[in-house]
């Protein structure tokens, strides 16, 4: 499974232009705050870091896209947020705050109660996300009653409303049907209905449209955007499809080898990327409308956890790498409306020092982009 970043070239510019106004540099209201999050795997050969020092904020009503090549750590981050990291993975450092309260270090049962109630999740494959042996109504009612003190009858009414809300026609008739009786797009709508059953403040959507037809993708994305706009739900949308990002994201974060290398408003990241990796990704935009195996401008592959080179993980592939890059891990710094983790923006790639980035260093960004 080596997904490459892909980009659906259709009307990207229009979308971005259309959203330009909605994009905000800082979220108006922090629904979810991730601070310095690191995830490690305890393996027989020792502890391997898979996510390192990831920080970002997700605001209410905002759609934050997370992009990156397959294996960059997007899903791992998403799983950590909903408290479903599977052993041997664990959070080794950092904090996750939901509405200001820490949720990463609470008891498993407390975490369980948050899931579905305050943080919903949507996964890639709608075909396999639903229990094939239970009616969709049953699964809805079960979810609703887990979180809300409703009688079976009122849970049923609520389930019908949800089905209607996600665009299932004739919910009454379809309530008692099984997943296999629905198309892929319909199933993803049901998955969304399940995710929003208890009206969570945050939804982690991990590649929610990857498995769907292009035509249906747009409908699902519209549904998600509607949630953010109308309900004020904060949505973290993991994808490796730039087209999806361009279509609905307000801000976008770029992950590379377990680190968040750049995050900023969608227009800025798409059109004037700062980080050399992001720039490489964006370099693909005009020329490609289909999947590619890897970045043609940039030779080599993204390293797996445990194989990260010292310093900036990107340096073996980076056209702008300098001596400093091989030694020192770049810390994220504010550049324009974005945060960028690259020495180019924090004092240059040649000088080996632990100093804070100077104005001079930041000014080199012009040359970088």
């Amino acid at each position: 499974m080596h997904h490459a970043v892909r980009f659906c070239g259709k009307s990207v510019k229009g979308q971005i232009a259309g959203q330009g106004g909605a994009a905000r540099m800082t979220p108006r209201n922090n629904a979810l705050a991730v601070q310095d999050l690191s995830i490690v795997f305890d393996t027989r050969r020792g502890t391997v870091t898979a996510i390192e020092a990831v920080s970002f904020i997700l605001g209410s009503g905002e759609v934050l896209g997370i992009v990156g090549e397959s294996g960059a750590g997007k899903s791992l981050t998403g799983n950590a947020l909903i408290g479903l990291l599977q052993a041997p993975g664990r959070i080794s450092q950092g904090e996750i705050r939901l509405g200001g309260q820490r949720i990463d270090n609470v008891a498993a049962d407390v975490q369980r109660r948050l899931r579905g109630k305050r943080i919903g999740a949507i996964f890639q494959d709608p075909l396999t996300s639903l229990d094939p042996l239970m009616t969709i109504g049953g699964q809805l009612v079960e979810t609703i009653r887990t979180h809300l003190p409703l009688s079976a009858a009122s849970a049923r009414v609520r389930a019908m409303e949800l089905l209607a809300e996600v665009g299932i026609a004739d919910p009454g008739a379809r309530f008692d049907q099984y997943p296999h009786q629905f198309s892929g797009g319909m199933r993803q709508r049901i998955v969304i209905a399940l995710a929003i059953a208890a009206e969570p403040e945050v939804i982690i959507a991990d590649e929610p449209t990857t498995a769907l037809d292009v035509s249906i993708q747009a409908q699902i994305l519209a549904l998600l955007r509607g949630l953010a706009r109308q309900r004020g739900t904060a949505i973290m949308l993991v994808t490796h499809d730039m087209g999806v990002i361009a279509e609905i994201a307000d801000r976008v974060g770029v992950m590379y080898a377990g680190r968040l290398v750049e995050i900023g408003p969608v227009a800025e990241v798409l059109h004037s990327a700062h980080h050399p990796y992001t720039a490489g990704l964006m370099g693909l935009i005009p020329s490609l409308s289909r999947r590619v195996e890897r970045l043609p401008q940039i030779s080599g592959n993204m390293p797996r956890p445990g194989e990260w080179p010292g310093g900036c993980s990107f340096h073996p592939r980076c056209p702008k790498a300098g001596p400093r890059c091989t030694i020192e891990v770049p810390a994220p710094v504010a550049v324009s409306d974005s945060m960028v983790a690259c020495h180019l923006f924090s004092g240059g790639t040649s000088v080996v020092s632990g100093d804070l980035p100077t104005k001079e260093a930041i000014s080199t960004r012009e040359t970088a982009s």
Binding site: G116, K117, A121, T128, P132, M134
Partner: protein
Amino acid sequence: MFSLILRRLGSVLLVMLVVAGLSFLIFNYLGDPVNNILGVNATIEEREELRRTLGLDQPSHIQFWHFLQRAVAGDFGISYRNRIPVIELILSRLPATVELVFCATIVALSIGIPMGVYCALRPKGLISRILQMISLVGISIPQFLIGMLLILIFSVELRWLSAFGRGEVVQLGWWSTGLLTHSGRMALIMPVITLAVFQISMIMRLVQGEMQEVMRADFIKFARARGLTDRSVHLRHALRNSLLPVVTVVGMQIGSLIAFAIVCEAVFQWPGLGLLILQAIEFADFPVMAAYLALVGFGFAMINLTVDMTYLFIDPRMRRK
């Protein structure tokens, strides 16, 4: 669905026909009952005479044809050994075997499934490792040995349980049950354990394997993401989805339990079909053997049908057809 049942019943008949036919072919190699009826002192003349009377001098396909003709009319003949109608004989032995297999299945399921679920959820835990080791032993010890071991401990040493028989039975119409008397229930203990040990181990391993597989499925992850309780995730979703192959195997196992029961019944002198067929083989009691084999074929086929029906019940995806 109706046509499915019809089609199945057709194949059941075919199975029974083939089984009965094969059994007649086998009979030729088993010897004949003449010696058992006439004793060792009979003359050659007498033997030939009796063979003619019983129709054993005919080629086996003719014998089979006669058997079929009578079987169609519901007449499976008279047992050479007991001189009573085979059907009567089989019906009188059926309850003992059915009760034994039924109890063993219930025990196997009610112990094997929880054990499998536990091991699936905590595959690395100490208890799981112990259970897995026990199940390995359970799968590999021959049934005969388990039975004898139980007898040695509970009958010979402790003198708690009777080494043989069904205890006192109560007659409910033609059905005889040991479940209603104390001694009947006590008598069930050792044979049921003997028969269930293998099944417990097998069901445990099967459930564990299936459930571990299912636990990796997306819908389980999604069920967790929905915030469902562990209990609900494990039992309502994971276990249920693991049960489909379990149903198949348990179905087949019930069939093989009837066959396995032969050993168990012999060890505990359990007066069921297994003991009956052993005696029939010893005596070359062909009518009983043919009817037994046909019945077992029928039983297997019916179990298959039930398994299919259970599928329909459990898995909505199958109902489409």
